[in-house]
Symmetry: C2
Subunit: 515 residues, 2 copies
């Protein structure tokens, strides 16, 4: 069942067979998202959207706990605003959705654009909101007393991407963008780091995805930023995925929008800025981090349904008895804050139900049959084991299932879910360790990516932008980040020699193939 | 203080002086929203956005409790989709934001639209999503087993309005749109009514705004609907505001997008649809329903801050003692689920703080001075009284304030807030009663609106669309709704004679001037 090839429209391709196809199969079969009639724009289906809602709630709570408030700024940006910050313009004034007219008309029974409704100035659908937000901040900030301004926005943005991939890269996507204003560089830099820590904490504790925290090289910075911090996760195919970024923008956007403040010394100064964001791309990261050839695997903290209860019966009497026991069991579990679904659909075999809920990543399944009614028991089936390495499919299936008294199951389930949350993080950490390598030789580096599956290569680096390009062309890898000092594993610490230029290097960077 | 004219940039115009200006003054001074650099698009500032977030949470909980799930559909709609449903096209294929290009380029140091990036088919920024959503539903619905499909979307939409008004009518606004699919007309109509009831319950219990529930006349229906239900609230100037609508769409959109299903008799049938929505317009309704000449008044369920605590002191010793007592008091209140703000800003007089928080609508203020420390007391000040009719400003100020032991205040506050929630609804009901009139004579009708301030006129009606237009031209009123039978007040029940045509009428309708 788990290894059906993707040419079977109901199946999921295995990861070893074709990782990219496996990813798309899961999204389709678990009903997470799909393409729409509009090029590059996806539809996020309810099961996928619920995961995003849970991410939003967790992130929003963390933003508010660190003093931020939400607001909303316009979808459209006047074309001229993009010109204001030179580097930002170079980065974002490219593939955009451009609104040029504001009226339709009927013509020969068709609806057409009214040529007389051309806008004086075209509008860009926001690819990011620094320019429009800082234009507004000009009215809100006069003195240091108005600072810091700690604002976040949940919104949709559009970047006219040519090659799209569901969740990872779409023309329209959903995200949050924090835009803060500060009275000093030190305070703004502190905010930049604080929000990266919030993202890292969320990735590890909620998504169960371990991340490397670090800074981007100058060529990889956000357009207009003086510094871009990033968290980088490793997917099961060894590729890196940039999961969130936090930018120190200096006074660039304040200068572009002429936002000054009277500081404590009564001097006029430009305001210091940060911005930071994560997007629906995180749903893609979540899928690729944990799922298996059977389908989606979700950390309990982000699972739309925690427990599914499936009644098993052969006749109408048994149906009534087991369905009723299933509902009673669900009612016992819900007070613990769990989302429990009783799958009492008729005309469907239990096996088909198991298949569907495993595909959709429900962490726990309870099966109740006639014998369980007599004995007061239930079968508890986990979606995954703490460690499945080296076990064949039959052994895994067996080990995932346990029989126990129903009251014992009710008491144990919250703890089991909490344990599963931790196990997923541990599994992901083991996977990352197994695919991380400290490398000092360019041939070893080439072999690691060409023959050994690749992963994170910790290498010394002292090259410039041209050297970076040369490495990228040769190996199809990139510098994912210059890790924070306190975040470098023991084996990778210390100074050394640049793997590419042979120049002295003060620390190692993480190189990988990336999404 | 409360009656400063609006030419004072820090003041609020009184309602009696200029109701429209009063509304705009409150929005500006309470920092709820403001205009942006993009024509017709508003910026929702944190204080205003928090109110919207609280509305969202309350509504979303109600949607989920009635079986709905959230999803997300594209921002853009292909132009040709708008042609599919004839009436819908006539209603919405007008003032839209039209995306015609997808790339910018540099030219002589300026950023311009790349003429070579013209889209083959222009895209419309969604004014509403029926067409794009039903195009997707075609893939999701095959049999009656796939129904009902109960989906809601939280999104931004754009309608290129010429005359805008903050919150009430803006080019871009935030809303939710429910789009459900059903196997029968009866079930779809039931859903249409259910969601109207959800809106009415939310308006009354959460917003504290009483509403009349009813149906729109054919001319006022949503473009493409067979029936449009509405809730109509009355603002303090006697005008009606349409606060939410729920549409029975029949099979119109299913036919336009070719969405059929196999029914229980194994016959192919078109799917039955509903859609329903409320928007950030509700924030405008909230402001206009309750606020006074001092500023915003908020029902506790939607207040971003429930209680503000202001320490009062003359010297540094007193400052430390009262600030510390204020924080201790806040900590005592928070476990009850209250949002409490201690205003310990230095260099600001207590009066200025009172003024600011009254302006922003905080329901309760606690004042703690040195004498309160000695006596263990606190001054508790309510933002409004249950009934302020006939009292002058000094009397109102006096009655709003009470002194009591601190522990007593802590114990009483949750109950006081709950009572204030109910009092606001009662105040709004009294105001509506005072401005509602059962009218049977056209001259009386004219006098009611011309000389007596107007409000809701309950009149018998049997006219057609032309008659409706004629009434509207003559009195600048419109039929707000044909009220639901069980929702007509005693005095307005029964059959009668149409006020305009003299024809027999089966029931009264509500006529009013409207926003």
């Amino acid at each position: 069942m788990a290894k059906r090839a993707s040419d079977n429209k109901d199946g999921i391709c295995s990861r070893s067979q074709d990782y990219s196809q496996w990813y798309l199969d899961i999204i389709k079969r678990a009903e997470l998202a799909e393409h729409s009639a509009v090029r590059g724009c996806m539809v996020i289906r309810p099961h996928g959207y619920t995961i995003w809602e849970k991410m939003q709630r967790e992130l929003d709570d963390r933003f508010k706990a660190t003093g931020h408030v939400n607001a909303y700024f316009p979808l459209f940006i006047p074309l001229s605003f993009l010109e204001r910050e030179e580097q930002h313009a170079a980065g974002f004034a490219k593939e955009c959705a451009v609104v040029t007219h504001h009226r339709l008309m009927s013509q020969d029974g068709r609806v057409v654009v009214d040529p007389e409704s051309a806008l004086e100035e075209p509008l860009i659908v926001r690819p990011t909101s620094e320019t429009i937000i800082w234009n507004q901040y000009r009215n809100w900030i006069q003195s240091y007393r108005d600072l810091p301004l700690l604002i976040n926005q949940w919104a949709n943005v559009v970047r006219w991407e040519m090659r799209t991939r569901l969740f990872l890269r779409t023309a329209e996507f959903l995200w949050q963008e924090g835009h803060t204003a500060h009275a000093s560089e030190a305070e703004a830099r502190e905010e930049t780091t604080r929000m990266l820590e919030v993202y890292a904490d969320f990735a590890e504790r909620v998504m169960a995805v371990p991340v490397v925290k670090g800074a981007k090289t100058p060529g990889e910075r956000f357009a207009g930023a003086l510094d871009t911090l990033t968290i980088e996760g490793m997917m099961q195919d060894g590729r890196a995925l940039q999961m969130g970024t936090s930018h120190y923008l200096g006074q660039n956007f304040a200068k572009a929008a002429d936002v000054t403040f009277l500081n404590r010394d009564n001097e006029l100064e430009y305001v210091y800025a940060t911005s930071w964001g994560v997007s629906t791309r995180l749903v893609g990261a979540l899928i690729m981090s944990h799922s298996d050839d059977t389908g989606l695997i979700l950390p309990p903290k982000l699972a739309p349904i925690h427990v599914v209860v499936v009644p098993i019966y052969r006749d109408e009497d048994q149906r009534q008895a087991t369905v009723s026991a299933a509902h009673a069991l669900a009612e016992q579990l819900r007070p613990a804050g769990l989302t429990v679904r009783v799958d009492d659909r008729e005309g469907m075999q239990p096996g088909a139900k198991y298949y569907e809920w495993e595909l959709k990543g429900v962490p726990l399944r309870l099966e109740i049959g006639p014998r369980d009614l007599e004995q007061g028991t239930v079968a508890l089936v986990r979606r995954f084991l703490a460690d499945e390495q080296g076990l064949d499919e039959a052994a895994i299936r067996k080990a995932r299932k346990a029989f126990m008294p129903r009251d014992q199951a009710v008491a144990a389930i919250p703890g089991i879910l909490e344990a599963m949350q931790g196990e997923l993080l541990e599994r992901a950490r083991r996977m990352r360790s197994a695919r991380s390598r400290v490398i000092d030789d360019l041939d070893d580096f080439g072999r690691f990516f060409a023959d050994e599956g690749g992963g994170f290569a910790w290498v010394h680096w002292a090259g410039d932008a041209d050297d970076e390009d040369a490495m990228a062309r040769r190996f199809e890898t990139s510098i994912r980040c210059i890790p924070m000092q306190d975040h470098i594993p023991e084996a990778a610490r210390g100074t050394g020699t640049c793997i590419f230029t042979g120049k002295p290097s003060s620390q190692r960077v993480v190189m990988a193939k990336a999404y």
